[in-house]
Amino acid sequence: MKQHLGRQSGVQTVEVSLIDGKVQITPKEDGRIEPAQLLKATYDSGVSVAEMDLIARGKIVKDASGNLALQIGSNQSFAITPNDVSKTLEALVDSSSIVTLRGELYKKPPGKKKADPSVPLKLLVLEVLKKE
């Protein structure tokens, strides 16, 4: 699995802890990493993902349907699941502020063995680490 993930575009290092089942992925400094691809690559290597968390920097925008989203670069964004933390980000919509967030991008639904690749990943903001 480590080699499989390491071959994905934008991945710099992969650290696997067999004891607690944690996989740490560090993206390349200037690379674009695609979390959905990492999920697929993990499943393809015969392991199921229970949870995926990330730390990301980006701008808060509103998507076409008026929901908050984290814009990372020009062509990558994640819709934000509304919660108490995301309410604090409303004021930053379309401002030039860049925020660093820690959030949950995927959690395996109870009873399901595999993620549905047709469902886009949504970001549940757990913590706002920095506002610039």
């Binding site: 699995m1 696997v16 067999l18 607690d20 089942g21 944690k22 996989v23 740490q24 992925i25 560090t26 993206p27 400094e29 200037d30 674009r32 990493i33 979390p35 990492l38 993990t42 015969g46 392991v47 199921s48 993902v49 229970a50 949870e51 995926m52 968390d53 990330l54 730390i55 990301a56 920097r57 980006g58 701008k59 814009q71 990372i72 670069g73 860049i98 660093t100 610039e132």
Partner: protein, 34 residues
């Protein structure tokens, strides 16, 4: 004056990658790993 400007430009270029929007880290919890 030009020297100061060049220094500022150099500093800006060095810091630019740090301020780019990007995914900094991903952590997964997996099941079924042997």
């Amino acid at each position: 004056m030009n020297k100061k400007f060049a220094l500022l430009l150099l500093l800006g270029c060095a810091l630019a990658p740090l301020s780019q929007p990007q995914i900094k880290h991903i952590e997964m919890r997996v099941e079924g790993m042997t």
